[in-house]
């Protein structure tokens, strides 16, 4: 592998890792703070991508679609929390697994009934629809780099939101001791609804941003579900930095797995996960 190519592969790995971070971050928040194992996370990603497709067709612009889609996702998240998840906090983890599995089936069928089963594409916004030349034959699409930048900004933003803001303080306190926070006069119910809605919005945002890069197709939620869990668990449940580091590790494992050991590329990600967890059984950034 010559050096330029090696550098491009590193860039590929970074960029894929950041995308995985974006997909997984909502999951780690909901999981870490609310203790909910949300299998429907991939469905929210899928719904986001389809929303991007529908709204972009209507408004003609991905940014307008995102501006419309995020509030929609937030409201959707609040409604779901109030209707379903709020009844589950005191229940076993596994009943949440069962419920969210049911939701996967429902969302997938609703998607089929309303938008159909065809494959769709979403155009890259005009502004970023160009490529940057990297080597004599290879160039890099600017939009990918934009998405990477968004991911980095989001990581920093979330860190400050959780570690430095008043809302973050309440959230952190709520995840440690629900009853105590309530006794202090904070409305824990609203707080949880907000956290869940943020989780849904982040998954939908990931789907919307990824829609122009990927394509919009039935079953796309499944493809990100497992890998999101891998990222969350390697990073340590609930940790923003952990998710970021884990996503990058997986980005590198996947990219270089494909290049160096192509026959075993399917195993690479899981092998890395198994090794990390055997080394640190509670993820890299375990919560205190």
């Amino acid at each position: 592998m010559d050096f330029t190519i090696f550098l491009i592969q590193v860039l590929n790995a970074l960029q894929y890792g950041l995308l995985l971070f974006l997909v997984a971050i909502g999951l780690t928040l909901v999981f870490g703070i609310m203790g909910i194992i949300n299998l429907a996370h991939g469905s929210f990603y899928m719904l986001g991508a389809y929303a991007a497709f529908v709204l972009t067709s209507l408004t003609g612009n991905l940014f307008a679609a995102i501006a419309l889609g995020i509030p929609l996702a937030f409201v959707f998240g609040v409604v779901l929390e109030k209707l379903l998840f709020s009844h589950l906090y005191k229940r076993d983890h596994l009943e949440q697994v069962l419920l969210t599995y049911g939701l996967i089936l429902i969302f997938e069928e609703l998607r089929s009934l309303t938008v159909g089963d065809d494959v769709h594409g979403v155009p890259i916004p005009e502004l970023f629809a160009f490529s940057i030349q990297l080597s004599d034959v290879m160039s890099y699409p600017a939009y990918r780099l934009v998405v990477s930048v968004v991911c980095i900004v989001l990581a920093i933003g979330l860190y400050f939101l959780i570690q430095r803001s008043r809302l973050g303080m309440m959230i952190r306190a709520g995840s440690h001791d629900r009853d105590m926070v309530q006794a202090l006069g904070i409305n824990i119910k609203t707080l949880y609804a907000v956290v869940f809605a943020i989780g849904v919005s982040l998954a939908a945002l990931a789907g919307m941003l990824a829609a122009p890069l990927s394509s919009v197709y039935p079953g796309m939620g499944f493809s990100v579900l497992i890998i999101s869990f891998v990222v969350v668990v390697i990073g340590g449940v609930g940790s923003v930095w952990g998710a970021l580091v884990a996503a990058l590790i997986i980005g590198f494992a996947d990219t270089f797995g494909k290049v160096l050991v192509p026959e075993w590329a399917g195993l690479a990600v899981y092998l890395v996960m198994a090794m990390v967890l055997l080394w640190r059984p509670e993820g890299i950034f375990r919560k205190g």
């Binding site: 190519i5 491009i8 894929y16 997938e108 089929s112 494959v119 990927s214 394509s215 197709y217 079953g219």
Partner: protein, 394 residues
């Protein structure tokens, strides 16, 4: 209970049949019951749109014949196979053992079709495959009761390999998902390309259904082959082509594929697929009257343009019709019916084709060049191409 009612009904039918059998010849009594057709196609999941196209076109043909084939009504039984091989045997049993269909039709997913072939073999039920391309179906697993109206994975790939070499390319890199269909396609491409003096310098594969292609694009840019051959379909195809174009490779390293890359996916690619050359047994703008009539009828009935999957479904119904005609609708004459099907010439929208001795279409594979949302024909990659049917002892 359901099965009780069914049993009672069968019993009554038997009694009535016996009573009538004394009065009129058996053939006529049989013509009164419909031919039971079991449609096992994906209605949910990634391949749902393909399943719908096949189902639509099959029924379109039957309706064009007035709802009857060789004088017999057609009664449909449907199962959603979900493209899940783990459920395939049971789903096939549902149609073959429970509903006792006369003909099993399906499906898109090769693994599911393999399971169906096993069930059909056990009961010697007529089985028509309207898509699944697994080479083995008309190779090692070929059987007197198994017919295919679509293609073998080998066919379009071999034709593409031949055409790629014909265009003067000397080196190629291949890329596919690491699954049977992709592996078979790459094998076909490589065989033809190397027979014609080319050299496949690297075979790349990515785990199914992973769609992160960037590392491979970088490798291709490093190797700089004369051409790239890929096998992708559906959402993965859209993503791959968009990535290939965005990486600036399309202009420097031409991309070729079996036609599934650009079938039903061009609109989603949003212009990225423009000018792609692919090989398939069907194309837009074929100059034959059958195709024009088929397209018009399909458009009128379903409000959308038919695709290659629809053609395959339509031809499955045609092939069944040929068989039924030959025996006057009497499906108990298995051997005659199958011989007639084997010897039939199907007047397909893709152009007339015949069947090989392994029951796979012997067909022209077209070269197509993508234009807008269409894949107009630009030439013939291989005429009357016959699958080698490796391992078939029929």
């Amino acid at each position: 209970m359901n099965q009780n009612r069914q049993q009672r009904r069968t019993l009554m039918q038997a009694v009535v049949g016996l009573a009538m059998g004394a009065l009129i010849p058996l053939g006529a009594a049989q013509a009164a019951d419909p031919v039971k057709v079991g449609m096992m196609l994906p209605a949910t999941g990634t391949f749902a749109a393909l399943g719908t196209a096949i189902d639509n076109a099959f029924k379109l043909y039957v309706e064009e014949q007035g709802g009857k084939l060789a004088g017999r009504e057609i009664q449909y039984f449907a199962v959603d196979d979900e493209s899940d091989p783990a459920k395939a045997t049971e789903n096939a049993n549902r149609l073959v053992t429970r509903d006792r269909v006369d003909v099993l039709v399906g499906t898109v997913h090769s693994g599911v079709a393999l399971a169906m072939a096993r069930v059909a073999r056990g009961r010697d039920t007529l089985f028509i495959v309207p898509n699944a391309g697994a080479d083995d179906l008309t190779g090692q697993l070929c059987a007197p009761n198994l017919f295919r109206t679509s293609f073998s994975n080998w066919q379009p790939a071999y034709a593409m390999g031949k055409a790629t070499a014909g265009m003067g390319h000397k080196t190629a890199v291949t890329l596919t998902w690491n699954y049977a269909a992709g592996q078979e396609a790459v094998k076909g491409f490589k065989q033809a390309f190397e027979e014609a003096g080319g050299k496949v310098v690297k075979e790349l594969a990515t785990p199914f259904p992973n769609v992160e292609f960037q590392p491979f694009l970088t490798e291709i840019a490093a190797i700089k082959p004369d051409a790239v051959y890929v096998f992708f379909a559906g959402g993965g195809a859209v993503k791959f082509v968009k990535d290939y174009v965005a990486a600036g490779l399309k202009d420097s390293v031409p991309l070729y594929s079996s036609g599934f890359l650009t079938d039903g996916t061009l609109a989603a690619m949003g212009g990225a697929g423009e000018g792609l050359v692919t090989a398939l047994h069907y194309a837009d703008g074929l100059d034959n009257a059958k195709d024009k009539a088929f397209r018009a009828a399909y458009q009128a009935k379903y409000g959308m343009a038919p695709d290659v999957y629809a053609v395959q479904g339509y031809d499955a119904a045609q092939l069944l019709h040929k068989g039924l005609e030959a025996v006057g609708g009497d499906m108990s004459k298995k051997a005659e019916m199958r011989a007639a099907m084997r010897g039939a010439t199907i007047d397909s929208p893709r152009g007339a084709f015949t069947l090989s001795k392994a029951h796979n279409p012997v067909q022209d594979i077209y070269l197509r060049k993508a234009q807008g949302n269409l894949n107009p024909v630009s030439g013939i990659a291989a005429a009357k191409l016959d699958d080698p049917a490796t391992g078939c002892n029929m």
